[in-house]
Subunit: 338 residues, 4 copies
Amino acid sequence: MIIAVKKQCEEKQFNNLIDWIKDLGLDVHVSHGDHSTVIGLIGDTSRVDIDLISTLDIVESVQRVQEPYKNANRKFHPLDTEVDISGHKIGGLNFQVIAGPCSVESEKQIIEVALAVKDAGATMLRGGAFKPRTSPYAFQGLKGSGIELLLKAKAETGLPIVTELTSVNYIDMFKDVDVIQVGARNMQNFELLKEVGKTGKPILLKRGLANTLQELLMSAEYIMAEGDCEVILCERGIRTFETMTRNTLDLSAVPVLKEKTHLPIIVDPSHATGNSRLVEPMSLAAVGAGADGLIIEVHNDPVHALCDGAQSLRPEQFKALMGKIGQMLPIVGRKFDN
Amino acid sequence: MIIAVKKQCEEKQFNNLIDWIKDLGLDVHVSHGDHSTVIGLIGDTSRVDIDLISTLDIVESVQRVQEPYKNANRKFHPLDTEVDISGHKIGGLNFQVIAGPCSVESEKQIIEVALAVKDAGATMLRGGAFKPRTSPYAFQGLKGSGIELLLKAKAETGLPIVTELTSVNYIDMFKDVDVIQVGARNMQNFELLKEVGKTGKPILLKRGLANTLQELLMSAEYIMAEGDCEVILCERGIRTFETMTRNTLDLSAVPVLKEKTHLPIIVDPSHATGNSRLVEPMSLAAVGAGADGLIIEVHNDPVHALCDGAQSLRPEQFKALMGKIGQMLPIVGRKFDN
Amino acid sequence: MIIAVKKQCEEKQFNNLIDWIKDLGLDVHVSHGDHSTVIGLIGDTSRVDIDLISTLDIVESVQRVQEPYKNANRKFHPLDTEVDISGHKIGGLNFQVIAGPCSVESEKQIIEVALAVKDAGATMLRGGAFKPRTSPYAFQGLKGSGIELLLKAKAETGLPIVTELTSVNYIDMFKDVDVIQVGARNMQNFELLKEVGKTGKPILLKRGLANTLQELLMSAEYIMAEGDCEVILCERGIRTFETMTRNTLDLSAVPVLKEKTHLPIIVDPSHATGNSRLVEPMSLAAVGAGADGLIIEVHNDPVHALCDGAQSLRPEQFKALMGKIGQMLPIVGRKFDN
Amino acid sequence: MIIAVKKQCEEKQFNNLIDWIKDLGLDVHVSHGDHSTVIGLIGDTSRVDIDLISTLDIVESVQRVQEPYKNANRKFHPLDTEVDISGHKIGGLNFQVIAGPCSVESEKQIIEVALAVKDAGATMLRGGAFKPRTSPYAFQGLKGSGIELLLKAKAETGLPIVTELTSVNYIDMFKDVDVIQVGARNMQNFELLKEVGKTGKPILLKRGLANTLQELLMSAEYIMAEGDCEVILCERGIRTFETMTRNTLDLSAVPVLKEKTHLPIIVDPSHATGNSRLVEPMSLAAVGAGADGLIIEVHNDPVHALCDGAQSLRPEQFKALMGKIGQMLPIVGRKFDN
């Protein structure tokens, strides 16, 4: 960490700052320039509060050189992490597609969709049992019985299941779930991050709508600090001024995260765009950007099917997309692991 | 709700849509134009999923006419809500200032600050016991013992206390807390909103960093849907591209919310700007914008005091600010209720 | 256009509004509901000022059904426009890559780069002669003599040239330029749009850093309203809160624009990311998203080459990328036109 | 400027970088740490291209210590600039209100509004003759004859006039205009900035919708680099995800700019909010934030008056607002200079 101190700083204030840094167990290297003095902090600065320092009156600016995350940092773990989910690997050269309906609605629905996506080449089943909804009056999911239906679909098809946990209260219901998803709105629900970190399961962590990539990595760090969880990061769109798409899918996040972390990164084109017509182009774009996988909504539901709409693909659309993905993977040096 | 349907829509799809709307218990009014057909939905549309409809293939665009919130809606409650906290009213003509340290650190600290802010005219004490921090390695608050120290300060000074709850797990510790705060990162932690809604206490709900005002009102609606909680809304800055302030304090939110809702709206200039030098101008700006109160960080802490810095005011700065606020209130038709 | 009028609207105000609409040459269709009255505007509403109406006291909300652009609208021109630049087509099934240095620096430099990018398969040469720079103290380009060097490179290689015009003052120097570029900062420099629209040349129009897709189409409309210019739209990143990339490349813009307009859409991964390591993944992502072409920075310049850095690719990196693009194009139903 | 270099940097690359910096006429101070090496640049770094350096492969991060602007920098000009416009000063302790219609429409209109705003205490008249409009089909202003009408209103009332220039082509028509306005969409139209900088007149420079405060200061620097223009900065709202206001008025910009620059800063609440009901609260908020003045839309126009709407105040509303501003000014240590 490098702190530039203002020219007109009083000696007493400057010495107070130096003493305070040393009290944190760090060494300092001071270099005096014409317009400002620069303090270099030597040691483990990951616990130093950069916000506090940056607002001190005598500080001109402050900048981290080391990243504030370690477990998630590629510098300390240069090799790609490959997360193994019931024999299906994600990360490294392996590309996975997770598919399924937005919400679990009935046994018939979830099993039919599971069979369809498996047939098309998906290796994991997604489906919401606990649904975070903006309105208290909207359908909030089948909850516990939704989890049971997912487990039936797993028994029927062999597909491991991925589903979202919205509160520490429900964690006991997730003991047979293969991958626990933490949703965008809970990316900085730190109490939830700590609890899922204790499960030892793989965690699918979605980026919040207004969170930086560094904050995403810090939230992964929260999970990993609890023990030996593996984290799969998920880009699902950020909030901008543009209104023609629900969110703005930030695909540059994929290659940037690949440099910063060893964890796998997948992309959710369904929620990002909110429009089924955009799912195919944005899925292929994600493959081109170097993603390790996709999570895609597929339905067979007559309400959603009403006018061929919403953000979910029909099974035949999904199958066609999987074909194109399969053609693209060798160009970017990847393969399906199924 | 008004749905504009594409010209080239097939009759079967159109009829499916009409039937689906009627199944929701709504009536329709169809009007055919040259370039599109418009469907007006008649009845209570607050439970209709606008996202679902907007992505249907045959839909050109869809627009709510009625707001999706009721308990929080000024249309149904034209008079200002005045929240009474131990005899101090907030809302209507009454202006309140909540002040205290960022974190509770010790009995001496919290009592000294409480006495200082009371002396300056604050009528409620703030202080963090559970601190949501971006880094798992940062100080996370004194937790339960922090709450106890706040209660001691309350006993000593008579000031009601406001403090943040970060997880449903800790709710039992909050039974003697006067106002429960839901922080920005938990604004859409819907499980937490439901739980605090059951307490019957006044809730201070902070706007999330990337949440619209409508979403803020929907989160208030979550709390109010559980029973008879009163909600105090708080603008504390949103995330934009500007980097010279920590967040961008959106003061237009104040008069806009005043039109949309009967709930009181306060402003947090300390967290929004992250810079103590900006607290006074932005506090006076909030008064000018018509806010019902302020929540301000004040410290007496030698670490923070190190270089006269961070986002907290010193007691004497706070007292000077309170004097200016007192001068301004009559101009905007307000008064301190203390 | 649909206007929802407030319940409590006075009859006189309502009638004023109706009269004002009729004075614009439009018909109205009024439908009375329980909570609001809806006015449908019938006729050509592209010249109606939606901002004015939305702020009228009696108006609840207002929504366009028709888009406010015509020449750029796919509804009125269902077939893809194919822009022909010296025999190279862009749009439809044809994919083009425009490449070259950020700035023209010398005859040797521009000719060497032109030969290199032609050899790799690029069909147009880019290079800045007039450089809009944030700082008045930064290098602003070779200006007129830069244009002359580009024309020499064109003579040498046969590559048509694309270069940016920053002021109506310089337009005479552009008479032999094949494609005039309007940069992101000038996307809403309406006087410049009108002037380039009079040239009859193909115009490469970059999206502004904070402009919506609808505004981009309105700026294309400005150019097209002047005569028979063809416009090539370019997504080059928008400004968000994320700081790990210079801008956030909004690739969803590509399939969304494909629905709204018949004009070709290309992507600039070099400026969007500001980082040469991200150019290859984001170029392949753009192909996957369905772009009609790319504009890529390539250098052979020892200053930029200093540490293999900046946002420009070296010729051999560009050649490798072109190979991968060539492999991907058939999967998305496209081909190079060279 | 401080450059942190990666640990694994090769000696040859490092030496190349050092040589390149020295070629720019700067000295370096190198300090080696455990995890990275830090290079301090000594000398005038305002012309160093930070973007270029930050993308070099061997660079971990780079940070300016000195600001890249000089003429606009308070460090070099500690005293407030007071811009004198026909005897009315803006800046320092002086507060000014500029008022008038959105567009000049007729001699009767502009003179009536001018008389009304003068009567209420405004000391300058605004009015658009050249109107930058998103749509090519919208009214673009009376242009040259609009300027003539403004000059008639000036002759009638003695009020100096402020009006927007949209292209270098029209600059000759502005020779009798008192203050030339550069609009938000032209904030980075650098060719226009240079031309207005040559006029020697005071320039009112509006912040772009997605421009940082540093970029605003750099644009002021462009103008000031041409000669002896004085620049009045204007905050008029930035673009965010919030849709209940047209833009998000960033009032923190006012105290932040006050620290960074000696130039006066005014606020435009009319364009920022797009809603006349928000003009009074946001004007008072701007006074509280420490602004040096306001620019407010006032109309007497039956079309705008249609339903008491749009973003303009009626003369009696404006007069009431001026009364409240007058009461507030002493609290923030300011006074009207009229």
